[in-house]
Symmetry: C2
C-alpha cells in the first residue's frame, strides 16, 4: 500500500516549525492584550452566505464551499472579519463600544500553492468596532508595528492607502457600486488598463490614470500631491485629509511608513476607508494588512457601526523571521529519562518518574523494554540531560543513581532531594 | 436584513469561554511536554481515504466530506490519530523510536448537537509510537491523569478494557474481521443483543454473553474473574494478562481506576489492545480516551509498528471544570486607559500609550473622540484601573495626570517614572 500524503496545498508543521508558529501566536496574543483586546474563538465552518456576502469575487471563488449532511451550504472561513461582524450583530451586540476583539487560527483559500502561500494558513486578527476616528485606524497600524517588533523582525514598513479616494471619484462620476467593486478588484491585481476599461467616461478614466502618477518620495509628499490633484472632488479630498491624520499619528509614534499608494486597493470588498499592508524588503508578499469597513456590520443587519481591523499572516511572519535569522527564544528546561535496572523495578521507576513530573520536570520513561545501556545510549544521542537509574540496592536506601549523560558522570542521590538537585544543577 | 447565526452544531466562544479553553490548551501543552512529547500541527483538511481507512463505520458516516475545487475527495478530520499515523509513515518515518507526538486543535463530527457535544470540538492528542510495552500504555493513562489534575479536576476515574479479549475469542472461533468490526461497533453502543446476533455459533455467542457478567467490585477482581473465564482462549488470556500489567503500573502510581469493563469497546476501528476512558461522577460523557493500535501504521504503508495514544476532549473538560467550580487562574495585569484633554494633545497621548505598552502594560487608547469625563466614566464602568490624562500644562513639565479610577484619586507623575509607578502600585 502506498503511503498517504497531505492534500495538495496543505502542509504539516513538524516540531521545529510548530514551535515557531506557537511562539508567534503567543506574541500575537500578548500584543493584542497589551492594546486591550479580548480573544474570541469562532467556528472554522460558517454559512456560505455570511462568508461570501462582502468578501469580493476573487476570494468568493476560492473558498472551500460544500454542503453539510443537513444540506446547508457552508464554507471554511477565508478570513475572520465576517465572523467577527456576525458576532457584533448578535452575541456582542450590546457590549459597550469601542469593542476590541482578537482571534487567532487557521483560514482557508484555494489559491495556487507557492512559497509562503498555502491553502490552509494562519492568521491573528484584531477588530476595533464602534470607533470612526483616525486614532482607531492608527491603533491597527501601531498594534501591527508592536507585534512585528515583538517577534523580532526588522526593517519592515507600512504601505498606506485610502479606498475613499477612488470610490469618491467614481461615485461623484456616477459609477455604480458593482462596477466600482470590479474596478477595485482589478486595481488590486495591478491590472490598471483592464480596470479603467470598465469606466465609461473618459474624463473619469483620465482622473484615475493621473492618480497613479501622484506618488512622491514620502507619504507626506504623496498626500500633498494627491490633495492638490483631487481638488474639487469633495469625497476624495476628505479621504486624503483622513489619511493625513492617520499618517501623522503613526509616524509621530515612530512607526515606519514606506509611502502612501495613491491607487492602492485590496481584495476584500468591504473596505470603506484607510487600507494598509506591511512588508519587509526581503519578501514581496505582505506580512499583514487591514483597513476600515464602516458599512459591513450594518449590511449584516446590525446598527450603523464604524469599524476597522487588521489580519496578520503568521506563516509569512515565520518565513520573514527565518529570512532575517530571527531566533525563537523559548526556555527549554532540563530533560530527563527514567530507567529501571530490570523488569522488577519498573513499577517503582514509574512512580519516581511521576514524582519528577509533578515537580515540573520533563521526564521520559523508558517504554521500549530495552537493556539499560541501550536506553542510555539512545537518550544521550537525543541530547537528554540526565538519566535517573532505579535499582533495588540504591532504592532500599531511598536513593537512585543520577547520570549526567554528556559528561558520563554519575552520583547517588536521595529521592527527597532528587528534583531539587536536578533543577538546581547548572 | 436578518442577522447571521453560527451554522447548526457550531458555536462561538466569547471572551470568558475562550480564556478557559486557552487555559486548558496551555495545561495540555505543559503536561505533554512534561512527558517528553513534541508538538506537531497537521491540516484540518485531509484526504477522505486517509481519514476513513480505519475510523469505523460510525465516524465515517459523520465526517464532513466534500470535494475541493481540484475534485479531490477530502474531509475535515474527525480525530488526530490518522494524521499522526500518516506522519509516522512519511515525514517522521526515520525518527528514533519511541516517537512521542502531541497535537491540539479542532476536530469535526456531524453528531446530533446536545449539551457538551458540538460538531466542531477541541482535542489535545498524544501518540506514543514504536513501543509495545505495558509501560507505554500506562504512560497514556498517567499523562491523562496528570493533565486532569493540572487543570484542577477532582474525583475523576478511569475505565479500562482490552479489545484483545473480544477479538481474541472471535478470532479463535473463526469470525472474520469485518464481522468483528461490526460486533464491536454495536457493543460500543451497548446494543449487545444486536451485536451477538452477528455471531453465528451459539457457543461463541454464549462466551461473549457470559463475559459481560465477569465484572467485580474492583479492576483487579474483574481481571481475576475474566482470567478464569477465558481460560483456554490463548489470545484472550494474553490480553487479560497485559491489562493486569497495565493496571498494576497505573494504580501503583496513584492513578484512580474505577474498574475494568469486561466487554468494553470504542467507536474507532483501529484499536488492537488496551482501551480506556476517563469520567467524573457529575457527567456521563468521557473527558478523554484512547488505546493501543498496533496495526494502523502498517496498514498505512509503514513498517510494522506498535503504537498507543490518547485524545482529551477539551470542551468537555471545560464543562467538567464548570460543574466542579474550578476557577481558571490567570494573572491579570493592571489595565490603563490613556486620554488626551483635547484634539491637539492626541499625538502626544498616543506616543505615551505606546511607551506604556512597550513597558508591558495593557493600555487602551481613547478612540471614540469623546469628552474626557465621558471617557473616564466608561473606563470606570469597565473596571479599568488607571486613566493617564495627557494635558498641555503638565506635559510642558514632562508630566501627566494619573487617576486611580475606582478610588477617584489623582496625582501628577513624571513621564520617566510613569510605567514603574503604575506597575509598582498595589
Amino acid at each position: 500500500m502506498p503511503t498517504f500524503q497531505p492534500v495538495r496545498g496543505m502542509r504539516d508543521l513538524l516540531p521545529e516549525d510548530a514551535e515557531t508558529l506557537n511562539y508567534i501566536v503567543c506574541k500575537a496574543r500578548e500584543t493584542a492584550k497589551c492594546y486591550g483586546y479580548k480573544e474570541v474563538i469562532t467556528p472554522i465552518v460558517e454559512s456560505y452566505d455570511l462568508l461570501s456576502a462582502k468578501a469580493g469575487e476573487e476570494i468568493r471563488q476560492r473558498m472551500f464551499t460544500f454542503k453539510d449532511l443537513g444540506d446547508r451550504t457552508v464554507a471554511l472561513r477565508p478570513e475572520f472579519t465576517a465572523s467577527i461582524a456576525r458576532l457584533a450583530t448578535t452575541a456582542l451586540k450590546n457590549e459597550p463600544k469601542p469593542l476590541r476583539v482578537f482571534s487567532v487560527g487557521s483560514v482557508y483559500r484555494y489559491d495556487e500553492p507557492q512559497r509562503g502561500r498555502y491553502r490552509e494558513f494562519w492568521q491573528s486578527n484584531c477588530e476595533l468596532i464602534g470607533a470612526g476616528t483616525a486614532e482607531a485606524d492608527a491603533e491597527m497600524i501601531l498594534l501591527t508595528n508592536s507585534f512585528l517588533k515583538n517577534v523580532g523582525l526588522r526593517n519592515y514598513a507600512f504601505k498606506l492607502g485610502h479606498i475613499g479616494v477612488i470610490r469618491g471619484i467614481l461615485t461623484e462620476e456616477g459609477v455604480d457600486e458593482k462596477t466600482q467593486n470590479s474596478v477595485l478588484q482589478l486595481m488590486d491585481k495591478k491590472e490598471y488598463d483592464e480596470a479603467f476599461k470598465l469606466v465609461k467616461h473618459e474624463s473619469c478614466r483620465k482622473i484615475l490614470q493621473g492618480l497613479l502618477e501622484q506618488k512622491g518620495e514620502t507619504g507626506f509628499e504623496t498626500l500633498k500631491n494627491m490633495k492638490y490633484y483631487v481638488k474639487g472632488h469633495e469625497k476624495a479630498e476628505a479621504a486624503v485629509d483622513n489619511l493625513l491624520d492617520i499618517l501623522v499619528l503613526v509616524t509621530q509614534s515612530e512607526c515606519p511608513v514606506e509611502n502612501v499608494e495613491p491607487a492602492f486597493a485590496r481584495g476584500l470588498e468591504y473596505y470603506t476607508g484607510v487600507i494598509f499592508e506591511v512588508y519587509i524588503p526581503e519578501l514581496d508578499i505582505a506580512l499583514g494588512g487591514g483597513g476600515r469597513y464602516d458599512r459591513l456590520i450594518e449590511s449584516f443587519g446590525g446598527a450603523q457601526t464604524p469599524a476597522t481591523g487588521v489580519a496578520h499572516g503568521l506563516d509569512r511572519i515565520a518565513m520573514a523571521m527565518q529570512m532575517q535569522g530571527v531566533q525563537v527564544r523559548t526556555v527549554e528546561g532540563k530533560r530527563l529519562v527514567v530507567v529501571s535496572v530490570n523488569e522488577l523495578m519498573k513499577v517503582e521507576a514509574l512512580r519516581i518518574a511521576e514524582r519528577l513530573r509533578d515537580a515540573g520536570l520533563s521526564v521520559e520513561f523508558e517504554v521500549m523494554g530495552r537493556k539499560i545501556s541501550k536506553a542510555l545510549e539512545d537518550a544521550d544521542k537525543r541530547k537528554v540531560d540526565y538519566a535517573v537509574i532505579v535499582g533495588k540496592r540504591e532504592l532500599n536506601e531511598g536513593k537512585v543513581v543520577v547520570r549526567e549523560l554528556h559528561k558520563r558522570e554519575q552520583t547517588t542521590v536521595a529521592l527527597e532531594e532528587l528534583a531539587d538537585k536536578i533543577k538546581g544543577a547548572t
